[in-house]
C-alpha cells in the first residue's frame, strides 16, 4: 500500500542586514554589492554579514562592477546554462544563469550582468550574465 500526497510549506525568511543591502542595491541601483574582509584581504560576492573564512564581522561593503569573468559553466538540457562568474572587483564567484547558447562561452570569457526591467529585491533581479561583445577576450 502506498500513500501519495504533496505538502505546501509557507515560509518567510529575513534577509538580514547584509542581505537586505544587497537585495536593495540590485532592485534600486542595478548594483551588485560585495564585502571586503580586511583580515583575509578578500572581497566576497554577494555581500554578507561575516567572513566565511575567518568569521570576522568587520567587513566593508563594496560596489562591484557589472562586468565579470566566466569561471566555469555547465549546460543542463531543459534547464539552461549555469555558471560561476566572478564580478569585477570580487575575488570569489557567484552562481547564476548564463544568457546565450552553449557555444558562446568559454572559461575566462568576459561577461556583463543583465538586469530585469521589473525588480523586486530578489537575486533574480539580476537575470544572468551574457557575453560582453565589447571585449576582445
Amino acid at each position: 500500500m502506498m500513500r501519495e500526497e504533496s505538502i505546501r510549506i509557507p515560509f518567510r525568511f529575513a534577509a538580514g542586514r547584509a542581505g537586505s543591502r544587497m537585495l536593495a542595491a540590485l532592485r534600486d541601483d542595478k548594483q551588485i554589492l560585495g564585502s571586503h574582509c580586511p583580515v583575509c584581504v578578500r572581497t566576497l560576492a554577494p555581500a554578507r554579514p561575516f567572513c566565511p573564512e575567518c568569521g570576522g564581522e568587520n567587513l566593508k561593503t563594496v560596489e562591484l562592477g557589472s562586468g565579470a569573468v566566466l569561471v566555469s559553466w555547465t549546460d543542463m538540457p531543459g534547464r539552461g546554462l549555469f555558471a560561476l562568474v566572478r564580478p569585477d572587483g570580487a575575488d570569489t564567484a557567484m552562481i547564476h544563469k548564463l544568457l546565450g547558447q552553449s557555444g558562446d562561452f568559454h572559461i575566462g570569457a568576459r561577461l556583463r550582468a543583465v538586469f530585469a526591467a521589473e525588480r523586486r529585491g530578489h537575486i533574480a533581479d539580476l537575470q544572468g550574465f551574457e557575453p560582453d561583445p565589447g571585449s576582445a577576450a
Binding site: 505538502i7 554578507r48 566565511p52 569561471v71 566555469s72 555547465t74 543542463m76 549555469f82 560561476l84 564567484a93
Partner: protein
C-alpha cells in the same frame, strides 16, 4: 579516549524503489543484519545514532517514525544530518561515544528512501536567498567544478568513463549494490545521456532506497565479542564555507578532504597512501570526483589521476583497490551512503566482504563527502 572497533555491519538490498517496506522496516532490515553479523541482541545496544536527510522524504523528525526500527526505544538516540557526510559523520559520532567511555556498544544506522520524496526539492530548500531560484542543484554544481577540473588538469571523458566501468564491474560482485553491470563499456558511459555538460548519466551516482548499519564497541567489548574487529584508528571531519562560489576550484582543491586525510594519515603513520593502504572506500558522487580525489587523497601527484585509472592501479587486482563495493556510483541512499563506505571498509578488515574481498586487507580508508565541500576520513585497521 580508549580504542573502539566495528564488530558487525549490515546493509539492505539497495534499489531504485523499495515499495515492499516502510521506512522503519527498511531500517530494521539493516539493523537486524548488523546485529546478526556482530552476533549480539538489541538489548546489548547502549545507544543509537541515526543519519538521514529529513527533507528528502518530505517529513520532519525521522527519528520519531523510524526510531523503533533502529531499536532506539528507551535508549539515547542522536540524529546526524550533514548532507552526504551524514553517514560518515554518524559513524564518527558513534566512534566518539564508544571511545570516550560514554557507551560500550553503539548502533549507527543511515538510511534514505529517495523514491518516497523529491530529492531536488530537498536540495533546493537550503539557502533561500542566493541559491534558490538560480541554483542548478547537486548535478549542476558538480558539473561546474568538473569543467574547471578538465580544463586545468587535462582529464578526459574517457578516463572518467573508466571509473564508471570499474564501479559497475565491482558492483556485480556486491549483493547489496543497486546498479551492477559486469559488462559495462567505456562506450556505454560516453554515449549515455548528458545530464549537465560534461556529466553523463553513467558518470553520476543514482538515487537509491537503502539503509546501512554498523556496530561499534569499546575495546573491552570488541575483544570479547569479535575475533577480528575492525579497529577505528583515526577519524577526522572538516566543514567548509557555505556558499559555492567562495571555494576556489572546489573539486580540484577539496581542501577539506585533503586536510581530513592528512590528519588521519599523520595519526596512523601513513606517509605513502598508495603503498600503505590495502583498500579504500571513497565517497565519489561522480566519476570525475573519484579522479580528482585520487590526487587530493595523495594516491598520486596532481594531474596523474587519469594515468592511475588507465593503469588499473585502483582496480580490484591493482595496488590500491578503490571501491570494491562499486561505490556511490552504484548505490546511493544518501543518509546511508557514508555508513556504507565505513561498513564496506570494515567488512574488508573483518574478512566478510564476500566476492569483493581484498585478500589480506589490514588497513582501509573510508571517506565522506557532503554539501558543497564537507569531508570526513577514517582509517580502519586490523590491530588497535
Amino acid at each position: 579516549m580508549r580504542p573502539a572497533a566495528i564488530i558487525g555491519t549490515g546493509q539492505t538490498d539497495h534499489g531504485r524503489c523499495r515499495d515492499d517496506v516502510s521506512q522503519p522496516e527498511l531500517i530494521r532490515e539493516a539493523a537486524n543484519r548488523a546485529l546478526a553479523d556482530a552476533d549480539i541482541s538489541p538489548a546489548d545496544v547502549d545507544a543509537v545514532v541515526l543519519a538521514n536527510m529529513e527533507m528528502f522524504e518530505g517529513r520532519a523528525l525521522p527519528e520519531l517514525w523510524v526510531g523503533e526500527g533502529a531499536f532506539a526505544n528507551r535508549k539515547p538516540c542522536l540524529k546526524v544530518a550533514t548532507g552526504g557526510t551524514s553517514g560518515t559523520s554518524s559513524c564518527i559520532a558513534g566512534f566518539h561515544q564508544a571511545a570516550s567511555g560514554l557507551f560500550d556498544v553503539v548502533l549507527v544506522i543511515g538510511f534514505e528512501k529517495h523514491s518516497e520524496g523529491h530529492t531536488q526539492t530537498g536540495m533546493a530548500l537550503t539557502d533561500p536567498f542566493w541559491d534558490r531560484g538560480v541554483a542548478s542543484g547537486a548535478l549542476g554544481n558538480f558539473a561546474l567544478s568538473i569543467s574547471q577540473y578538465m580544463a586545468e588538469r587535462g582529464v578526459t571523458r574517457e578516463q572518467a568513463a573508466r571509473v564508471a566501468v570499474k564501479s559497475r564491474r565491482n558492483a556485480a560482485m556486491n549483493p547489496h549494490a543497486h546498479l551492477k553491470d559486469a559488462n559495462a563499456t567505456i562506450e556505454d558511459v560516453m554515449s549515455s545521456r548528458v545530464l549537465a555538460h560534461p556529466v553523463r548519466l553513467m558518470d553520476m551516482c543514482p538515487q537509491s532506497d537503502g539503509a546501512a548499519a554498523i556496530v561499534i564497541a569499546s575495546a573491552e567489548h570488541a575483544a570479547k565479542l569479535c575475533s577480528r574487529p575492525a579497529w577505528i584508528k583515526a577519524a577526522a571531519t572538516r566543514h567548509e564555507q557555505p556558499y559555492i562560489g567562495d571555494i576556489d576550484r572546489r573539486l580540484l582543491t577539496m581542501r577539506t578532504l585533503r586536510d581530513a586525510a592528512q590528519s588521519v594519515y599523520a595519526r596512523t603513520g601513513i606517509r605513502e597512501p598508495l603503498k600503505q593502504l590495502d583498500v579504500a572506500e571513497i565517497y565519489e558522487p561522480v566519476t570525475y570526483a573519484e579522479l580528482a580525489w585520487y590526487e587530493v587523497l595523495g594516491f598520486c601527484a596532481e594531474g596523474e589521476a587519469g594515468r592511475l585509472i588507465e593503469d588499473g592501479i585502483t582496480e580490484m587486482g591493482g595496488e590500491l583497490p578503490v571501491n570494491p563495493s562499486g561505490g556511490v556510483l552504484c548505490a546511493n541512499p544518501v543518509g546511508a551512503t557514508g555508513v556504507i563506505r565505513v561498513a564496506e571498509a570494515a567488512a574488508q578488515i573483518l574478512r566478510r566482504a564476500g566476492a569483493h574481498q581484498i585478500d589480506g586487507a589490514r588497513t582501509a580508508l573510508a571517506t565522506g563527502y557532503g554539501v558543497y565541500a564537507w569531508a570526513d576520513a577514517l582509517i580502519l585497521g586490523s590491530t588497535p
